[in-house]
């Protein structure tokens, strides 16, 4: 579904991502792990259009998407969440999800301004669907609260709901469990399975090894910008290079 070919990103003299080639299989949860500063978020930014790679290509369903703008990548069917929470804080929870639905709504400037019957119908349906997404992540009781007032863990869930609302084919999750307590992590584990059941493919950066090893079908390990290893969780767990990187890196 998604293939990157020798993607490289440089910040001045620093090569944050160095010739990384990975493959994401459809209908799987693929993990991307590695010590802090390994280049995982930069790699995500490259896929989602925030950065244009200095070299290499990103191919999604047969089309080159490197160098496309973030909103174009989103329209192509890749949606994401952020490691540093990036919600629309003063908008309420439901509105955040509605913004996520933006690329799927058809109304335009004039039909919005004059509130035409078709615009009205679409909005009504959109509110109902947004509410369904909140139920999906169990945030329906907070629909009208400002997004900024939610707890850290709930903000992460809202980020997921917001990005699912654009009905992506592939979702990129950047440390979804960060800041969650153990109960929330268990619920996240179960939520990830339900996301997969929707037919959405997942590529996930995560530090929580219990979660990663339990749910990912396939793992890629980054270290200092380079792809250190790839394989199934059990292969990765027994890989001496990986053990070395984790023990030596911190």
């Amino acid at each position: 579904m998604l293939t990157t070919d020798k993607v490289t990103v440089k910040f001045g003299g620093l090569t944050a991502v160095n010739q990384v080639s990975v493959h994401v299989e459809a209908h799987r949860i693929t993990g991307l792990i590695g010590p802090n500063g390994a280049g995982k978020t930069t790699f995500f930014n490259c896929i989602s259009g925030v950065y244009r790679p200095n070299s290499g290509s990103v191919i999604f369903e047969g089309n080159h998407i490197e160098g496309k703008k973030p909103y174009q990548v989103n329209r192509a069917g890749i949606s994401r969440t952020y490691q540093i929470i990036n919600l629309f804080k003063k908008m309420n929870v439901l509105e955040n999800v509605l913004v996520g639905m933006h690329p799927r709504l058809k109304s335009g400037y004039l039909s919005d301004m004059f509130r035409t019957p078709s615009q009205r119908r679409e909005e009504k349906a959109a509110y109902e669907r947004a509410y369904e997404w909140l139920k999906f992540v169990d945030l329906q009781d907070h629909a009208l609260d400002p997004a900024g007032s939610l707890s850290y863990g709930k903000q992460r869930l809202l980020e997921i709901a917001r990005s699912l609302a654009s009905t992506p084919k592939l979702i990129l999750l950047d440390e979804p469990a960060a800041g969650m307590n153990s109960k929330e992590k268990e619920e996240l584990d179960e939520l990830l399975k339900r996301i997969l059941e929707l037919g959405v493919t997942v590529l996930m950066v995560e530090h929580d090894m219990k979660l990663v090893m339990g749910i990912c079908h396939y793992l890629n390990v980054l270290s200092e910008g380079k792809l250190l290893a790839k394989g199934t969780p059990s292969e990765i767990q027994n890989n001496p290079d990986v053990i070395q990187a984790y023990l030596g890196g911190e």
Binding site: P70, D112, R162
Partner: protein, 332 residues
Amino acid sequence: MQKSLANNSLGKKLIAPIAILLALGMPLYVRGAEYPLMLACIIQLYVVAVSGLDILFGYCGQISLGHAAFYAIGAYGSAILHNNFGLPILFTMFVAATLAALVGAVLAIPASKLVFHFLSLATVAFGEIVYQFIVHSPGGITKDFNGIFSARLSIFGFEFSTYRLWYYFGLACVIVFLTAKYFLVHSKTGRAFTAIRENSHAANGMGINVRKYKVMAFATSAFYTAFAGAMYIHLVGYVHPDTFLRKQSVLFLTMLLFGGTGSLTGPILGVISVELLIESLRVLQDYQGFVYGILLLIVIVALPGGLFGGFKNVWNLLAGRLGKRRGGAGAC
């Protein structure tokens, strides 16, 4: 339930603004109250102008210190189209406002890349350019430093010859423009504006073409303010280029910030309070800039959210107390 979620019952939201504006019409019932009535008319057209600025600044988070330029394009555009081509006034008002929207869009295409401080500078420069164009116009089409005269408003031969009559026209304009603003900000387009204000990176990531929506916000805002300019010239019958100095842009922004951004009511409260204050301080006319500065300082230091934000806080406090006494049911 969906209705309460959407929180967009138009009637409720429009009650306060319309009530305030009707109250403004009180001089209608007082014989010979020409001066307060004229003031009410001016307030109405300023409400249209400042509501337009609110779409850009309050909702989309983009600053403009050059809105006097759009105000000017509306006033001069409508006057020139009417004087030189004999087109009917309401039509010229719309054409001039549409022209301003196009100019706004063209300005926004490069300006949408700029961050806050640079955007303020660019819009100041835009205001200067338009002013210079007016006072040194090609072929003297704007009558340069003399200012320009135009006819009072008339629609299909009906002349709005008194402030009393014009007041009803102004009220109709306010209702139409506020309703359109309400529809726009509570829609996909308005959510995109607000998302850009809140976090433009995330907005981009959610599939919003940030540049396109900034251009739309600029154009909409320009249309509102230019239409207000056209209302002005066909109310007063004359404009002088010095009406469109930077001072006027600062006045719009002061009114908006003082009343409160991002609502229907805020701009109305801001326009009324600032306009009445300035009128009652006529003696201080040479120090208007100073007065605006003080008002802005008050808002920034003591009243973030403006008058409307302040009222809402007081209201919530009272409602919260009452709610608690009734057993906390007030939260919903």
